[in-house]
């Protein structure tokens, strides 16, 4: 770093630009590409699962490898796709939305990204250790004692979870520091775009629960290798202790996976309805109360473990209560659309599909909260259907919608709208064919995480597999479209969308490398 001008004028190019970058836009791009690559890796694993389940009997893989696929698919999608994609959005958008020149802690920002590729190389390398037991295979929930039996892949997974945790915590600290310290003059908290709000709350959730998860897997590690018996009843421990700790992390985690999605959708809908977001204040309060409640509902994942009656009742009521703020959000989105002047470009299509399909997942969540009924639903395909409605048509649809929404800003080019619409419709149709029938499979009694099934489940499984392949291959179209938009395409205007409001739309498309070096004034 010779002089300040050299630092600001010339940037490294080629590989060192990306390795050493401290620029929020570059780092955002890195996060988003990592997420997209892992989306295809995790997706390929899902297709292995669905291919095996096309028919009863074992056709393609053996049961042990099947379990590796379900475990790795979940770990990669949760920690490698949805979370990094949201951090990518945060990096690009938060500084531009609050009028800051960059993230508050740019060097740490670089580090929190670059931990990730190594973590995922470690995790994926276990697939090549089949002779030592292969990849972790006890499910993404890592329940002991089964996890204790796992091979060396389990230790690799634990190490990589530690790395992911460090990355997330650093990222969360950065988001909080940026939002609390670097807002432009006049950008009061209650003027912040909702995306910024949801990320602020998400960051606090991350800070609170990632260390808990790290603690849980560390206890697994010491149980495996250092003679402790936290989770081993024979040594005075308790296998259920792990489940309590895991879900104390796990339930807030599912909100970490959805709150930023709420934020993205709350940006998109007002733009295309050409009408301000309805109930901004109540959206903020609803998000905060969802986050708060998420700490007191964890045992709804454990209704069948033999909780005392009072415990079951408490967790049933608390879980049902979450439906209230969730409902408020849905009502607010619909009322934002109400009497707007709507157009349906691809981002809006994804946002509308989000509201509709996420609500199906929310309502099945409400059903799962009813303890007596959950005794039937638990650990069946009904649960699998539930969490794919909230995670795929929830988190992933919001991510895709957000990508279409901001891609013109980021790249300076309009994407191809016709292709975008094709991508949307193939995705929605494929998704519903893949996952709607799984509700019925669960009700009829098909357990989850099985490689082979009784004959009465055949037809719906075939539908599901066909839908999954459609859904999977439709994403190649998205990859093509992104590359095409980066390379060519109509020049995007500063405003991009005529209904868009907010500081990012005052910047040229693409924005210069450094933006808001002098803070804008917000009225």
């Amino acid at each position: 770093m010779a002089t300040a001008t050299a630092h600001h004028g010339a940037h490294p190019t080629g590989i060192s630009r990306w390795l050493f970058t401290t620029n929020h836009k570059d780092i955002g791009t890195l996060y988003l590409w990592l997420a997209l690559i892992l989306f295809f890796v995790g997706g390929a694993m899902a297709l292995v699962i669905r291919a095996e389940l096309f028919e009863p009997g074992m056709q393609i893989v053996d049961p042990h490898f099947f379990n590796q696929m379900t475990t790795m698919h979940a770990l990669i999608m949760v920690f490698g796709v949805v979370m990094p994609a949201f951090v990518g959005f945060a990096n690009w958008q938060i500084p531009m939305m609050i009028g800051a020149p960059d993230m508050a802690l740019p060097r740490m920002n670089n580090w929190s990204f670059w931990i990730l590729p190594f973590a995922f190389v470690l995790l994926s390398s276990t697939l090549f250790m089949q002779d030592q037991g292969g990849a972790p295979s006890a499910g993404w929930t890592l329940y002991p004692p089964l996890t204790i039996q796992g091979g060396i892949g389990t230790d690799f997974a634990i190490l990589s979870i530690h790395m992911l945790g460090i990355s997330s915590v650093l990222g969360a600290i950065n988001v909080i520091a940026t939002i609390l310290n670097m807002r432009a003059p006049g950008m009061t908290l209650m003027k912040m775009p909702l995306f910024v709000w949801t990320w602020l709350i998400t960051a606090f959730l991350l800070l609170a629960v990632m260390p808990v998860f790290a603690g849980a897997v560390t206890m697994l590690l010491t149980d495996r290798h250092f003679g402790t018996s936290f989770f081993d009843a024979a040594g005075g421990g308790d296998p259920l202790l792990f489940q309590h700790i895991f879900w104390f992390f796990g339930h807030p985690e599912v909100y970490i996976l959805i709150l930023p999605a709420f934020g993205i959708v709350s940006q998109i809908i007002p733009t295309f309805a050409r009408k301000p977001l309805f109930g901004y204040n109540s959206m903020v309060y609803a998000t905060a109360s969802i986050a708060f409640l998420s700490f007191v509902v964890w045992a709804h994942h454990m209704f069948t473990v033999g909780l005392p009656l009072a415990g079951e009742l408490f967790f049933m009521y608390a879980t049902m209560l979450i439906a209230v703020p969730t409902g408020v959000k849905v009502f607010n989105w619909i009322t934002t659309m109400w009497r707007g002047s709507m157009t349906f470009e691809t981002p809006m299509l994804f946002a509308v599909a989000f509201v509709f399909l996420f609500t199906i997942g929310g309502l099945s969540g409400l059903m799962l909260a009813i303890v007596p009924a959950d005794f039937q639903y638990h650990d069946t395909y009904f649960v699998v259907a539930h969490f794919h409605y909230v995670l795929v048509s929830g988190a992933i649809f919001a991510i895709l919608g957000g990508a279409y929404y901001w891609l013109p800003k980021w790249t300076g080019h309009m994407y191809n709208e016709t292709l975008g619409k094709w991508h949307f419709w193939l995705t929605v149709i494929g998704f519903n064919i893949a996952f709607f029938p799984q509700h019925f499979l669960g009700l009829a009694g098909m357990p989850r995480r099985i490689p082979d099934y009784a004959l009465q489940f055949t037809e719906f499984n075939q539908w599901s597999t066909v839908g999954a392949f459609l859904l999977g291959f439709a994403q190649l179209l998205f990859l093509y479209l992104v590359v095409q938009t980066i390379r060519s395409g109509k020049k995007a205007s500063t405003q991009v969308w005529d209904g868009a409001k907010g500081l990012e739309w005052t910047l040229p498309s693409p924005p210069p490398y450094h933006t808001f070096a002098t803070a804008p004034k917000v009225k």
């Binding site: 006890a138 009656l309 709507m342 039937q376 009829a444």
Partner: protein, 377 residues
């Protein structure tokens, strides 16, 4: 009376809604698809089904109302129709209304749920106790009041799983020794596990509970109709989690008593035969059957699977007999090789060890007698 009517109506509406949504997805004949729970055969399962139907109706009604607003808006409030955007962005009354109404609906759902849950958790005054123990990958049933105990394993032939022969009607839902229970009696289950967590689930009973090593869970059922009921392990328990079904035969009290005495006679006969000296041929034939349990990990021909060692030419299977017996009886802690001592009889262990040493490509010539097993226990 009013209640049952409501149940009928809600049931009918559910089927209608489910039917329509299915038709729109598939357009295929309805008959081939199961859309809802399996037919309940206990009072609790019946109640759960009613509760489920009630909740699904409420949820569907809410869904239809809320989204009819959205779709109306999507059709009408379009720029392409020249619709001008309104300016409103707040309404406290509305916010309060749509916070309070859902809350009240939830209270309405919580009341019947709580009532059913309290009944489900009441295991008092049972007339029969059965202890269930989950193993990788089979179930053990003990009837402490009757001195009966046995293992229950999948009986679907491997050839069906590997698509070499046609699959039977109860593919993956059939076992060698079903649990037998009397109808009309309150049966209490004590459930635990030997190795990892499993879950015992029979959908038609509305009973699902985790089997956790070191802990004993309780639950109960009362079966109304005689019949055969099938279920599966519901908690991921390793490689063969998909292959540990549950089959319950519900029979009259007389038949149950007959079954109990039959089981006792079998146990006595087994003890007598363990005292005898067995021929190699008989041991090999029996060993081949028992080996089915070992094949899950060590391979049908002793070739090993992934991390599980092969037995063909193995250090233990061709080494000293005592070491071989020891690992089968005591297992290898920290691995999936469990202690088979408590699970298998002296005869079975003698037979399977003899088999492993003289088949699977091994040929040590050793013949192991049940008495040798007994001595090592």
């Amino acid at each position: 009376m009013g209640i049952t009517r409501i149940k009928h109506v809600t049931g009918a509406i559910t089927r209608l809604f489910l039917g329509i949504s299915l038709w729109s997805v598939s357009g295929l004949a309805l008959a081939a698809y199961e859309l809802n729970f399996q037919k309940p055969v206990t009072p609790i399962a019946e109640e759960i089904l009613d509760l489920h139907n009630l909740i699904i109706i409420i949820v569907l009604i809410i869904f239809v109302i809320v989204f009819s607003f959205m779709f109306y808006s999507i059709v009408v409030h379009r720029k392409s129709r020249g619709y001008k955007p309104a300016k409103f962005h707040d309404n406290n009354t509305l916010e309060i209304v749509w916070t309070i109404i859902p809350f009240l609906i939830l209270v309405g759902m919580a009341i019947p749920s709580t009532a059913t849950l309290i009944k489900m958790e009441d295991t008092s005054e049972s007339e029969l106790t059965v202890k269930i123990t989950g193993y990788q990958w089979k179930w053990r049933y003990d009837y402490p009041d009757h001195d009966v105990s046995f293992f229950s394993t999948l009986s679907t032939p491997r050839d069906q799983i590997e698509n070499k022969t046609a699959k039977g009607e109860n593919y993956l839902l059939e076992v060698d020794n079903p649990v037998v229970l009397p109808v009309g009696k309150k049966v209490r289950f004590l459930i635990t596990a030997n190795d990892v967590i499993h879950a015992w689930w029979v959908p038609q009973f509305g009973v699902k509970k985790d089997a956790i090593p070191g802990f004993i869970n309780e639950m109960w059922t009362r079966i109304d109709e005689p019949g055969t009921y099938r279920g599966q392990c519901a908690e991921l328990c390793g490689k063969d989690h998909g292959y540990m079904p549950i089959v319950v035969e519900a029979v009259s009290q007389q038949e149950f008593d007959k079954w109990v005495s039959l089981q006792r006679n079998k146990a006595v006969a087994a003890q007598a035969s363990a005292a005898q000296k067995w021929s190699k041929a008989k041991l090999m034939a029996r060993g081949k059957q028992v080996y089915g349990q070992c094949a899950a990990c060590h391979g049908a021909n002793g070739e090993g699977v992934g991390p599980f060692p092969k037995l063909t030419g193995g250090k233990i299977t061709t080494g000293p007999v005592a070491d071989h017996l020891k690992i089968v009886i005591q297992g290898k802690p920290g691995t999936a090789m469990q202690a088979f001592g408590p699970q298998l009889s002296d005869v079975d262990i003698a037979a399977v060890v003899t088999y492993e040493r003289n088949a699977l490509g091994n040929n040590t010539g050793d013949v192991v007698q049940p008495s040798q097993v007994k001595a090592l226990r």
